[in-house]
Amino acid sequence: MASVSLIQLKKKFGSALAVSDFSLEIADGELVAFLGPSGCGKTTTLRMIAGFIDPTAGRILIGEDDVTALPVHKRNTGMVFQRYALFPHMTVAHNVSFGLEMRKTPASERAHRISLALDMVRMTEFKDRYPRQLSGGQQQRVAIARALAVEPKVFLLDEPLSNLDAKLRLEVREEIRALQQRLGLTTIFVTHDQEEALAISDRMAIMHDGKVQQVGTPEDLYEKPANLFVADFLGKMNFFSGQQSGEGQFRTQEGLKLKVAAVAADTVTIGVRPERVELSGEPSSDNSVPVTLKSFSFLGTHIDVVLTGAGQQRLSCQIANTAADRGNRALQTGTSLFMNFKATDCVVFNERDGQ
């Protein structure tokens, strides 16, 4: 395995900028997820690393080698595709064998490596089957074995779980993570599913409109989003516009005074996560915002509550479905309540909420 460096990577399709100035260092053995809505440039970046797309500008290093000009078949990356992309006219074993044959691995060693790779994904007993005889999850496992059998320098996954149903998705996801950690694979995982990215990655890069918005560990990105897009894309957030009105004080457009620990002179928006607020009939805690309960939906582990604040502002709150709270469930639409939250749970931004 090897590290990967992206240096000022840029791709233009005609006049449209698909990826702009993407720089990132991926350490040996690290799993980095590229997360973003469709069309954000995450797949384009992955395909540039694999060599399917030539970058307009910038460089790609794998280990110490500059591979920017190297053709796909010489890059030694192992890629897994969204729709499995197994060779339909070959058995499972032949699929895995293909990459080894291309590398001129001697036949004696090949058999051994094929069985190792298939063992790794628990598909040995299916080695003589054809792809059409396998389920989606099994096909994706074979695709993983095929990509890893050649011992690539980088493991690239392009939305590998999107075609699987919910239960399998979790299973294959855990399997990919376990393999990645056991073998110490340098891995890039492209997804549009935030839960997937949060669960699996060491670090993630959130992309939007071809630009990297923020790179960091899942906790960092969730707790300290760098901008409104990241805050809103990763989980939900309630926003209040306004400005600093004193040391640790923030005044919203509607005239509410809030205590905000991290407020600074350039703060124009503050945010608080729905699961960090408490609903109560009484004002308490550092901040209390009067709200009206608009609607709520029971989601099993928690209840999603939609509230209306001052100036018809839409706010939301999550109530955990725990035993202690159960008596508190007499939620009724139209009730006037207080949304209470701590000064330290507020996140500050220096850009205005567009909504």
Partner: protein, 276 residues
């Protein structure tokens, strides 16, 4: 009571009509074949119903007719060469049309399919006139040569290959070939080892159709064959000018059976019904 209900259900007039219609279509399609085969066994030299008896004489008659034997062998050769060359060219054309989005892409596609739209006799005469001009220009024989005939037949076979192979190619997931390249295969290796085998059913079907189209072609060959080089359909037509006995039916029966066998054998290896 239950049996009665289901019987009434089955007599649903729309379904009944559908069944009747299906049977009718099959009857209309198969009727000529059945009659040709049946007639080939009639004893009488002049056809009339009911036949006075049955005989295999006409098969012997056909077998002893040198024009048919020669025509059969010649047609086979022409059809084989046309099919092989036509399929190779057609696959390349389909590949170009589907893979590379060049200017005039659609125009080329339509042009390659156009021989299907033209009446055969018009195509034949057009090619004949074109050959005459070219002969003057190049100062060598083309009309009446085997090369001239094969080239014309290749033109007829190309639309089938282009149509079948490009349809099949459009259905392929491009990431499969990408996966091969990612695993270390050069573009050409990925094409020959991965893409081409996936197109195999379409290519086999295209070869079969090309062979049949060439083998049974009469209109185009008519103006292009030279002395000594007569295709089977032309031999049959020439025989018909002076005879009206069931020998023709016997020859046709042999041809029907031969093509039928080729189709069945092909279908064993490649499910034609999935491609066409």
């Amino acid at each position: 009571m239950i049996a009665r209900t289901s019987f009434v259900k089955r007599l649903n007039p729309i379904k009944l009509f559908l069944h009747f219609f299906v049977v009718l279509v099959y009857a209309v399609m198969l009727c000529p074949l059945v009659f040709v085969i049946w007639l080939s066994f009639f004893k009488d030299a002049i056809l009339f119903f009911p036949p006075s008896g049955y005989t295999l004489h006409w098969y012997q008659n056909a077998w002893e007719n040198q024009a048919f034997i020669n025509g059969f062998i010649f047609s086979m050769q022409v059809a084989l060469v046309s099919a092989v060359v036509g399929v190779c060219l057609g696959v390349m054309a389909a590949l170009g049309i589907i893979r590379y989005k060049f200017q005039g892409n659609k125009l080329v596609n339509t042009l390659l399919l156009s021989p299907l739209l033209m009446p055969g006799i018009v195509t034949g005469i057009a090619i004949y006139l074109f050959y005459l001009r070219t002969e003057n220009f190049l100062d060598r024989d083309i009309v009446g040569t085997i090369t001239g005939l094969v080239l014309a037949h290749i033109c007829l076979t190309i639309p089938w290959t282009v149509r079948l192979v490009s349809a099949s190619m459009q259905g392929l997931d491009p990431s499969i070939e990408e996966a091969a390249r990612n695993l270390g295969a050069k573009g050409s290796v990925a094409f020959f080892r991965i893409t081409l085998p996936m197109l195999r059913p379409a290519i086999v079907a295209a070869a079969l159709f090309s062979f049949i189209v060439s083998f049974e072609n009469l209109e185009v060959s008519l103006s292009l064959v030279g002395p000594g080089n007569t295709t089977l359909p032309i031999a049959i037509m020439q025989y018909l000018e002076f005879n009206l006995d069931p020998t023709i039916a016997a020859v046709s029966t042999v041809q029907i059976l031969l093509l039928g066998v080729i189709m069945l054998v092909t279908d064993r290896f490649v499910k034609l019904s999935q491609v066409v």
